[in-house]
């Protein structure tokens, strides 16, 4: 080859071609999406995230959670993600418009987390609302156990296709808005996604929310009726799982994140945030484990992960899918 100019032009040209084709054109196609709203301009999804959520995502990034947990649900024709109850529909570009970085992940040494927040007990009122931009409340523990029917009713694993697995209808009362601290209205079809990966776990599975709206007696979650066990996927559950994963799933391969927690002697009154271990032995008498602010943000982030809201451009695996699904983003 003679001459440097053709070489340079070729090298530049191939690079520019690749950039134009794989970045510039897709960016024009899916790089400027707005939240979806209903006809009245309400029920925006996705909603902007809270400060705690954003900080929690940074904690998630710092500690490399993304190397084991994906956040994308693949369509049912390609994979079994939806069968595993990781979501009710495939993920779409619009789900991520407020995510920076968008942590799609490339490895599943742990389950997919796209909808982990959706699995929380509906009544976990202290979970910082993802919809709120001002939420700085930092009390993930001690949820108002409105629906703690889970502690009284036997765990009912939701079989595929059962009504429990049905996704929420795109009503204004969808959980994205319901998460703002108010319990879901009675009769709302906001059934949580049943845990799929926890099948081998001795932890009680999320009680199917069949008894929606039935107010349970106010019991303090710390001294909960069922032996000090936090509700699955509640904030307390996440904290304990982060602190000691194998106390919840014995076969878990997740590293513990004890450095996000402070183990300290109880001075005076025990902290309301202290972790609840299902029984003695984990923490010596007179000691308690309390989450740091980072841990609280991380849990706020996890509990805000929720792609259950229906999107017009994606076909939900629900019988009650939107009547006119737009062109599916494939």
């Amino acid at each position: 080859m003679k001459g440097i100019l053709p070489l340079f032009l070729g090298i530049f040209g191939t690079f520019a071609f690749s950039w134009a084709g794989l970045i510039a054109i897709p960016n024009a196609q899916i790089g400027h999406l707005d939240p979806q709203m209903d006809e009245e301009g309400n029920d925006a999804y996705p909603a902007p995230k809270s400060g705690m959520y954003d900080r929690g995502r940074q904690v998630y990034v710092s500690n490399g959670c993304v190397y084991c947990h994906s956040q994308q649900v693949r369509p049912d024709y390609a994979a079994t993600d939806i069968d595993r109850k990781w979501g009710t529909r495939r993920s779409a570009p619009r789900d991520y418009i407020f995510e920076r970085p968008a942590l799609l992940g490339k490895m599943r040494m742990g389950p997919d987390l796209s909808n982990i927040g959706k699995r929380a007990p509906v009544d976990d009122a202290d979970a910082p609302a993802p919809a709120s931009t001002t939420s700085t409340t930092a009390a993930p523990a001690a949820p108002a156990p409105l629906g703690s029917a889970a502690q009284t009713s036997p765990a009912v694993p939701a079989p595929a296709g059962s009504p429990e697995a049905a996704p929420p209808e795109p009503t204004p009362a969808a959980p994205a808005t319901a998460a703002a601290g108010t319990p879901a209205p009675s009769g709302s079809p906001a059934a949580p996604i049943a845990p799929a990966d926890g099948a081998a776990s001795p932890a009680p599975a999320t009680a199917a929310q069949t008894a929606t709206g039935v107010p349970a007696p106010m019991t303090d979650a710390i001294g909960g009726a069922a032996g000090n066990e936090p509700l699955p996927y509640s904030a307390g559950w996440h904290h304990r799982h982060l602190y000691d994963p194998r106390s919840i799933t014995p076969d878990s391969d997740m590293p513990p994140y004890r450095f996000l927690y402070e183990k300290r002697r109880i001075g005076g009154q025990a902290s309301a945030d202290a972790l609840k271990f299902g029984g003695p032995g984990k923490v010596p008498e007179g000691w308690e484990v309390v989450p740091s602010y980072d841990a609280q943000c991380l849990v706020a982030y996890l509990m805000g992960l929720d792609q259950s809201h229906a999107l017009n451009e994606v076909k939900s695996a629900a019988p009650a899918s939107p009547p006119a699904p737009g062109k599916a983003v494939k």
Binding site: A79, K106, P255
Partner: protein
């Protein structure tokens, strides 16, 4: 390429080099002196890049070992924030990508550029400063990752302040390369120079564009993931791949003393490589939240990379034909041919796992780790080892001290990386099979891969041994403990005598 430059003459192929004419000898002598001068001029910067690279290699190996054991012993050091698995892993990948592989690649490229441009290296201070800044960037970046300042983008975890230092370092290196190219002698540009020229230009565009699109003017949502994969894939192909292939195009003909089989094949291989390999990447996002055409485009491009792979492979094979026996003696050839073969395997595996039917199986499994190691280690790192075995003696004026250490290094590296890839390949398939089987709980899919992860740790120990042997040997060369001899160190000394007598 003049056949008189052959350092290692095969005993049988005397026809090619026999009976040089009288005037030829004097010309050879002149060229010999010239080359010695060029080598001497590259000595300082290349050794600096190499020494730094070997240091990062050792550090990256130790981090890899820790991360590997943590995968099947999750409680190991879990209570320490900066040694938690999720920080050690990106520290390992970045130490290897930016510390070891990039610095070794730049070192080899500098030497090749100087040799092929046939000019002594000008402005070595630019390069020395470049190496110093590069080390600083990697150090700051690694500390940033371990301190929890990672950005969360694969292979771009270095916080932006470290990326800026790297970019300054890189611009020093590239400005030198441009100068070098301007002052080159002879209008002819050899194949290796195409690849190196491409790599030197692609890297800053790629890195700069990515940094802008992710941090300065960030794109929205999933486009960040697209940019991330576009970067990771093109870094592998257009940076490491180009340097690795360019080096192989130099080392193989050089060591066996035959010209490249076909220039036309090489040209086809280069341009189809630049065109198709740069379009891959999105296949790693298969079935993700993207328009399907993006992913299909990358899958098609991956299939089309068969063309450059076949042409490059054929070219190397035809060049080597009848001379494979030389791999018994020459360390450079042995490592380089291993790497060149691994490049073919790497591309074929890449093709296999990008097909949709296969991808839905192995997506989100350890298969992707097998693929990365196939590319970065079995292909690129082995070729870099080969080039270092060739170049370092010419810089320090001594030959490698122990053939046995080179052999140990080769076999530990080769067995180590092959075992690792086998473990992760099979493990990935098992993991994918169990993950897609909803009759099993998810935890069972991560349990079923545990034996393979333990096997991977074993292979990592082999690689650790290999790297420490190499570092020791390299250190001996650095401190002038090499053999002072006029013949290179051959791997099988008893054959060496036969070689010498025949020459």
């Amino acid at each position: 390429m003049s056949s008189a430059e052959i350092p290692l003459r095969p005993p049988s192929s005397t026809a090619a080099v026999a009976s040089p004419a009288e005037n030829q000898v004097t010309r050879d002598e002149v060229e010999q002196v010239e080359r010695a001068l060029i080598d001497a001029s590259t000595r300082m910067p290349v050794l600096m890049f190499y020494t730094s690279a070997v240091f990062w290699l050792l550090l990256g190996t130790l981090l890899a070992g820790l991360a590997s054991f943590q995968m099947h012993m999750p409680d190991l050091l879990g209570g320490t924030s900066f040694l938690t698995w999720g920080r050690v892993r990106p520290a390992h990948t970045n130490a290897m990508v930016f510390g070891w592989a990039s610095m070794a690649g730049i070192g080899t490229s500098i030497w090749l550029m100087a040799r092929l441009s046939r000019t002594t290296l000008r402005h070595p201070l630019l390069l020395v400063a470049g190496a110093a800044f590069w080390n600083l960037g990697v150090l700051v970046g690694l500390i940033g990752i371990l301190a929890g300042d990672s950005t969360g983008y694969q292979w771009l975890e270095f916080p932006p302040y470290a990326a800026v230092i790297l970019f300054v370092a890189y611009s020093l290196v590239v400005s030198w390369a441009v100068l070098m190219f301007r002052f080159r002698r002879g209008g002819h540009i050899y194949i290796t120079q195409w690849y190196l020229f491409g790599a030197f230009l692609w890297f800053p565009w790629l890195y700069g564009a990515t940094q802008i699109m992710l941090f300065a003017v960030p794109l929205q949502g999933v486009m960040q993931a697209a940019v991330n994969w576009w970067f990771a894939n093109n870094l592998m192909f257009l940076w490491f791949g180009a340097i690795g292939l360019g080096t192989a195009y130099y080392m193989i003909p050089k060591v066996i003393g035959r010209p490249v089989y076909s220039y036309h094949l090489a040209a086809i291989g280069f341009w189809t490589y630049a065109l198709f390999a740069s379009w891959t990447g999105m296949q790693r996002l298969v079935d993700g939240p993207f328009p399907a055409w993006m992913i299909t485009a990358s899958i098609s491009a991956t299939i089309l990379t068969i063309i450059p792979v076949a042409t490059v492979g054929l070219n190397h094979h035809m060049t080597m034909r009848g001379h494979f026996g030389l791999m018994r003696y020459s360390p450079t050839l042995r490592f380089t041919v291993f790497g060149a073969i691994a490049y073919t395997v790497f591309s074929l595996v890449g093709l296999l796992i990008s097909l949709r039917s296969m991808a839905s199986y192995v997506q989100f499994t350890q298969m992707s780790i097998a693929y990365s190691h196939l590319g970065l280690y079995a292909f690129f790192t082995m070729i870099m080892f080969g080039s270092m075995y060739y170049i370092v003696p010419r810089l320090v004026g001594r030959e490698w001290r122990y053939a046995s250490l080179i052999k140990l290094h080769f076999w530990a590296s080769a067995y180590g990386v092959m075992l690792m890839i086998l473990m992760l390949f099979v493990g990935g398939i098992v993991q994918g099979r169990d993950m897609n089987n909803t009759a099993l709980s998810f935890t069972e899919s991560t349990q079923s891969i545990l034996p393979y992860l333990r096997g991977r740790s074993l292979s990592g120990m082999l690689l650790t041994v290999a790297h420490f042997i190499f570092a020791t040997h390299f250190g001996m060369m650095l401190f002038g403990l090499g053999r002072s001899a006029s013949v290179p160190t051959f791997l099988n000394p008893q054959q060496q005598e036969a070689l010498q007598t025949s020459l």
